[in-house]
């Protein structure tokens, strides 16, 4: 019943960490290079999921449920964030008829 599943023996934590780093980097790249606000938002979701993967990995390898509870909270907060963020994007679209963030330069002075 309580024996260690095969994955925890054959796949080291390092592989999961590398995967999470790669996903997070792709998210940063998306935020930096894309100009569509919705795609930028999706890249942020990607970064959140990379962090979630890291949390679950360490939680499972160390047998500590706190990590998985934190992932639960992160998901809840991400849902709230998406609701507000998409409302803001819709408002931006109403004002300038586009979701291109490079058009939002009113604070440039």
């Amino acid at each position: 019943m309580n024996q260690i599943p095969e994955i925890f023996r054959v796949i080291p934590v390092n592989n999961f960490v590398i995967l999470a780093v790669v996903l997070f980097s792709i998210g940063i790249l998306g935020v930096l290079t894309r100009r569509n606000a919705i795609i930028i938002f999706m890249s942020v979701e990607l970064m959140l999921n990379a962090v979630n993967l890291l949390f679950v990995t360490f939680s499972s390898y160390k047998s500590d449920p706190a990590g998985q509870v934190f992932v639960f909270f992160i998901m809840a907060i991400a849902a709230a964030e998406v609701a507000v963020g998409l409302a803001i994007i819709v408002m931006i679209y109403r004002r300038i008829r586009s979701t291109d963030v490079s058009l939002l330069n009113n604070l440039k002075g």
Partner: protein, 170 residues
């Protein structure tokens, strides 16, 4: 077997994550993001976190992505992708990100291999029963605070999305 599954899921996750930021049509980006979430749910199952795997599918692939799709459907977006005028900026950001990721990956790849230890391993921590007990005892206050946060986010979204006076269309 498990190794093959891990590498397949990882390859698919990285590929679809790349397609999220590379595809020109935002709808395709959303669909690739859903594929990424499915592969991550596969990873959670591999990691013995069945509850989070299902929650990931329901919350992310189900609710959040439908919200994205609805917004894109409303907004009638034009295709925009990498434009030549900002090539220098793209190259710079790519260089910075690759350097950062490369440094971390080099460090992690040369670190000592870490696997689970036999002594206090518990294969049941990812089940609903165990997580529910922890959530409703140790993390009860944060759990209630999250519900307040949800309420305020809901009110905020409705307030933001409300049509203002004098706006004709949309």
């Amino acid at each position: 077997m498990v190794q093959n599954l891990f590498y397949f899921l990882s390859f698919l996750a990285v590929l679809s994550a790349l397609m999220v930021i590379l595809s020109k049509n935002p709808i395709h980006s959303v669909l690739y993001l859903i594929l990424t979430f499915f592969t991550l749910s596969g990873h959670y199952i591999l990691l013995n976190a069945q509850f989070l795997s299902i929650v990931n599918l329901i919350v992310y692939a189900g609710a959040i992505m439908v919200l994205f799709l609805f917004t894109i459907m409303f907004l009638n977006l034009k295709d925009d992708s990498f434009t030549g005028s900002r090539l220098f900026f793209h190259l710079g950001s790519g260089l910075v990100v690759f350097t950062l990721a490369g440094l971390i990956i080099m460090k992690v790849a040369t670190a000592p291999i870490a696997v689970a230890d036999d002594a206090h391993f518990d294969s049941q921590i990812g089940m609903v029963e165990n997580l529910g007990k922890v959530l409703y005892s140790k993390f009860l206050v944060p759990f209630e605070l999250v519900s307040v946060l949800f309420l305020s986010a809901m009110v905020g979204a409705v307030m933001l999305g409300r049509r203002e006076k004098g706006e004709k269309n949309f």
